[in-house]
Amino acid sequence: MIMKSFSKILHFFILIICLLLQVAFFGYLKIFSISFDLIMVAIIAVALFDGTLWGMLFGFIVGLVMDLMTGNIIGISAFVYSIDAFMARKLISAGFKSKLLTHIFIVFLVTEINILIFSLIYYLFNFGISWFGMGLDMIIRPVCNIILMLIMFPLIRISSGMDKETEFEFKYKNKV
């Protein structure tokens, strides 16, 4: 129980570090059209390894802090990251045989949905849409996020003290 609580606190701090990294470094890379969303990847990982509830709560808190630090409309990132966490956990039931493939599929799909939700909300708030920019983002960002996933997922898994067999509440080895 204490170990579980400790891992939740640890994950929260990892998310805060991800937030600072996003603002201090990955935000800068977006100028070159290299679009990493470290927070989203970390939240997906937390949702998968700690459960939907924690993923949604952390998504809401970190998204809100992100919006308060740099957002145009406060609450949008909080909303989208919570939805991301909820979706990620639902998508795990798609369950490919390969664990890596399942992770890639989830990150890819959540990234695409993330972009679409953001675009829709901003469109509803009377912002113009650049179809070319959105299309480019829908190609580049999933690839960048999948690269980040290869670092973030093992990090969150190790810090949650989970062994590979019990991951996601079903045994991959048996599935394969």
């Binding site: 406060i74 909080a78 912002f127």
Partner: protein, 269 residues
């Protein structure tokens, strides 16, 4: 049963979160004072650690810039050589005009234009995306910064402060889709509004189709906006027309390079 309960619980939590987000979004859109205060406190709270993070990643950012500079070296050299020869000619004209201007001002007993008071600040964060283009600076109300003040780099105007904490502030860059700045075309003195766009282009609006605008025309701030007049902003890079619109579509290339912002000046007004 337990799984069902968990599912119901998750749906309830999601519904509560969505409700809270809608409340916050509405409050933010209505420019609520409480939200603005919380925002200022948040950027102040994270400022020290963010500054450390930014210092840590400065060499990496510098490395990215070096690669880009190296790739563009030859092109830049040719551009600078052409610009240099043009500037040499302009310099001679400018000296003559300055002498003439000074003597005419003395004759009319007019004051010479005064320089602006500025505060130096360091960039400690970026938030660039399709929907926004912002930076965070390490100076705030304590240093004399305040909402609405203009931000300059060595080359020209880069943005305007949108949120000011006691020790840090958020700056909306001129290519942000929500940015809107009153400007003039230097040569024709025509007034227009400079707006950012989602794809990062900067568009000069409200210049009628009948007006002559040349590629390369210099854009400066207008004295009618919130910012002081005659601050260099950019150069016209493309002029086109849309058959249905009474206004020209003018793209502007900013003088400032947003990719290498490190230290900037806050314009005290």
């Amino acid at each position: 049963m337990v799984i069902l309960n968990r599912r119901v619980r998750n749906f309830i939590v999601l519904a509560v979160i969505i409700f809270l987000c809608l409340v916050v979004i509405t409050a933010s859109f209505r420019q609520s004072e409480i939200i603005n205060n919380i925002k200022s406190k948040t950027i102040d709270f994270f400022k020290p650690i963010q500054e450390k993070f930014f210092s840590l990643f400065s060499p990496v950012i510098g490395f990215f810039n070096s690669i880009r500079d190296y790739i563009n070296l030859r092109e830049k050299y040719l551009d600078l050589r052409a610009e240099n020869s043009g500037l040499r000619e302009e310099y001679v004209d400018s000296v003559n005009l300055r002498v003439e201007n000074d003597s005419l001002r003395k004759l009319l007993d007019m004051k010479l234009r005064e320089g602006y008071e500025t505060i130096t600040a360091r960039v400690i964060g970026f938030n660039k995306g399709s929907w926004q283009s912002e930076i965070i600076l390490n100076a705030g109300i304590t240093e004399g910064a305040c909402q609405g003040m203009g931000i300059l780099s060595e080359e020209g105007l880069i943005g305007v402060i949108t949120q000011c904490g006691s020790k840090s502030c958020n700056v909306r860059l001129i290519n942000d889709p929500q940015s809107s700045i009153g400007v003039r075309i230097l040569s024709s003195r025509k007034l227009g509004v400079l707006k950012g766009s989602q794809d990062g282009k900067i568009i000069l609006n409200y210049i009628p189709v009948g007006e002559t605008v040349f590629k390369g025309d210099i854009i400066i701030t207008s004295e009618y906006g919130n910012l002081p007049g005659e601050i260099l902003v950019g150069r016209v890079s493309k002029v086109s027309e849309d058959g249905n619109s009474p206004y020209k579509i003018i793209e502007v290339e900013p003088f400032a390079d947003f990719k290498r912002l490190e230290y900037v000046l806050i314009l005290k007004q």
